[in-house]
Subunit: 440 residues, 2 copies
């Protein structure tokens, strides 16, 4: 069953309100066409009515009607006359990305990133600072409120009003309800009503997803993964997780826990105990915390003078210290990064055989390290996976770096705001952007 | 991008003929509705016009038009008056599954299964026999021709004429061209034009896929996986492979090699050399060939009297011998199956963390063995995967057994025959079922 079929074969009742869904003045087929036309313009794939006709296969009259409605509703503008290819010069169609703004926060294990963006994910203002997710939701989200207020106050020329809020968190999320589910490194967050909290304060729709899904969306729409239909985006930070693009959509899995690759067993060594309670998890040998511990061991044993300096200065060695030492050629640090890379690569070789992606993206704090890590990951994947699966496989570094999380959160909000379900509700309500109760 | 968008945003030219695609009398939106309505009736989800209206969200007039077209084209029949719920009693709509028949062959490493089915995958005639895929395409496919002819001759009351041919093969296939690509256990088959060969002989469209994809389609449409959106179907035969249902569609991956789990590394032991040339592949320790070898070792060492008897009788011990010995309680055979199950379970535990399916189906020759194998697989998955990912996870035995391959091949043909692209071509040609040039 294709996505289209799933979209069409839905229950006729709104599960939340138990009332029949009224789709407003547009019949369903017209609504489908509206979504297709808007996506074409929104992603810059079609820039004129004739391009829309060519690319979508929709009739000329239908395209003209749908474009007219989008202009009328303020989602599309008709700009300058585009380049002519003979005949009447076409009018350039543009998504009105500055019709409003989106507020996003990417919460990591040890950081908060916030940004205000246009409706197409362009960053207008950005701020990041250290924070501890384990301080609990009240502390973290109060701080997000303060930072959001500050962004809105200080960003020059903020367009229109707030259309949506997007939040990424470092743990499993039930996407439909927007609530964290038993997140291992987020004490106090289990089942916390993040959506309701922000919706009440901001009067705008709110979507929450885990940080790796958000990262994958960002790289897929605006980064190195653009144009790929099957992608695995690996985040190597304190822990290790993956976001999955499967045949052109974000794959969340049956319980929304897909991509939890940090807890795949990679060794039988009984001394490798993971924070999850299992033995031999990837994260316990190759995550940021494990790298930091291994570096600290090398510093304490006197095997690395450079890591010893880091230990003396701050009393602790972090993964970032190891990465920095490796970039200066410290042999112990280079070896540690190489070993972590081979572990990650070995896990990914299995994923490549199972999933056959065309691209693997390596991101996260630890990945912003010298080339040794990426080289070891690449080498192991190419050595261990089947030739057919690696024939055209690319393994690349994240292209958005530290901004991938907030860009991805904004992309998530945009995709939800301009989904079929949202557009149907907007048309019913007569006005976009004011919906606080959102479909899953 | 959803499936719908992919379907809509296609090139306006037929890549094969380089002529503009003419979609016949139906505009695109109507064609989309036609596919949705036909699928509803075909899968038995909607049995009347009012159920169609309720379930699809399409308007009453549109539903009536599309149903009328399907009846006119002989794809749907209007039968007895269904149960009334007040008002005018509804007329029951049924897919005309006996409008024609489908010929299918499931080629295994050591067997050929052929069947003739209705258009909805119901088996009308079936035959299986031992065969060696390594004898090459001419030998194997000549035999398929003979068996197809025999089936057509001997099956009583074959409906209509041949609408399509479906073939499953034990190796990677480029689905668009229908050609095997570097299949490791199929010498002589690389790039062989299976489609062209059958299309020329039968004058009907032909589709080819690998045996595990076909198995997954069968279990998903007609077996234990029905109703699940995220499924991994593992086939443990001579080798080990998996078919993947991802968010309600078959996931083939970027090169069509997804599901090649038999070559995931599960041990560092340098003495475990796989036929693929790598060290420590799952298949080399837990596939049927490996089980047979281990059983033969136990027979030669005199560790198992029952396996020794098998060796004395036929000069070789197979995986089936090990399974049979285990079912009689032979402790060595039980231990071998348990070890194989733990190896498969350990690999699957990683897949569960990565992919988060709601169901894992275990099929293939070795899986038709006593419960020890399934029990060991289950135990290892539940012990090694994250609690959230296994909360509602089912691990079940294949429900279609030896028929899953041919049923799946028929489902594949049905899905392709009644796809949007095929329907568009049929409408243009004026007659269904006579298309030999098929879209990928």
């Amino acid at each position: 069953m294709t996505g289209y079929h799933r979209a069409m074969i839905r229950e006729p009742f709104d599960a939340a309100s138990e009332r029949p869904v009224r789709l407003g003045p547009l019949p369903d087929e017209a609504l489908d066409a509206l979504v297709v036309v808007l996506d074409e313009i929104r992603f810059g794939r079609s820039r004129s009515r004739s391009e829309l006709v060519t690319r979508t296969g929709l009739g000329r009259a239908i395209v003209a009607q749908r474009v007219g409605e989008l202009i009328e509703r303020g989602l599309v503008t008709e700009g300058d006359v585009g380049p002519s290819t003979g005949g009447r010069p076409p009018r350039q169609l543009t998504f009105r990305a500055d019709g409003g703004y989106i507020l996003v926060a990417d919460l990591g294990a040890t950081s908060i990133d916030v940004a205000v963006t246009t409706l197409d994910g362009r960053i207008l203002g950005h701020h990041d600072e250290p924070a501890r997710i384990e301080a609990g939701p009240e502390t973290a989200l109060d701080r997000v409120d303060v930072l959001f207020d500050s962004l809105v106050r200080t960003t020059q020329g903020l367009p229109g009003r707030l259309w949506g809020v997007g939040i990424g968190v470092p743990g499993p999320v039930e996407f439909a309800s927007g609530r964290p589910i038993s997140p291992p490194i987020m004490p106090g967050w289990d089942g916390y009503a993040i959506r309701e909290r922000f919706a009440a304060r901001y009067g705008a729709p709110v979507w929450i997803d885990n940080d790796v899904n958000v990262l994958a969306l960002g790289e897929w729409r605006s980064g190195v993964a653009a144009g790929h239909a099957n992608v695995v985006v690996v985040k190597i930070g304190t822990g290790i997780g993956a976001g999955i693009i499967s045949d052109g959509h974000l794959h969340r899995g049956a319980q929304g826990s897909a991509g939890d690759v940090g807890h795949i067993q990679v060794t039988d060594d009984p001394t490798v105990v993971c924070r999850c309670g299992n033995i031999g998890c990837l994260e316990a040998v190759a995550g940021g915390a494990a790298l930091g511990r291994a570096g600290q061991g090398a510093a304490e044993d006197g095997r690395s003078a450079r890591l010893q300096t880091a230990l003396d200065q701050r009393g602790v060695v972090t993964a970032e210290d190891v990465a920095r030492a490796a970039s200066f050629g410290d042999p112990v640090a280079v070896a540690l990064l190489g070993e972590a890379g081979r572990r990650v690569g070995s896990m990914l070789a299995g994923i490549v055989n199972f999933f056959n992606p065309s691209l693997i993206v390596i991101g996260g704090g630890v990945a912003n390290s010298p080339d040794q890590l990426l080289a070891a990951i690449r080498e192991t994947i190419y050595r261990r996976s089947l030739p057919l699966a690696t024939r055209d496989l690319l393994v690349q570094r994240s292209s958005l770096g530290g901004l991938a999380g907030v860009i991805g959160a904004s992309v998530m909000v945009g995709d939800q705001l301009f989904s079929r379900e949202s557009l149907a509700r907007w048309i019913e309500a007569g006005e976009p952007g004011g919906v606080t109760e959102v479909a899953s």
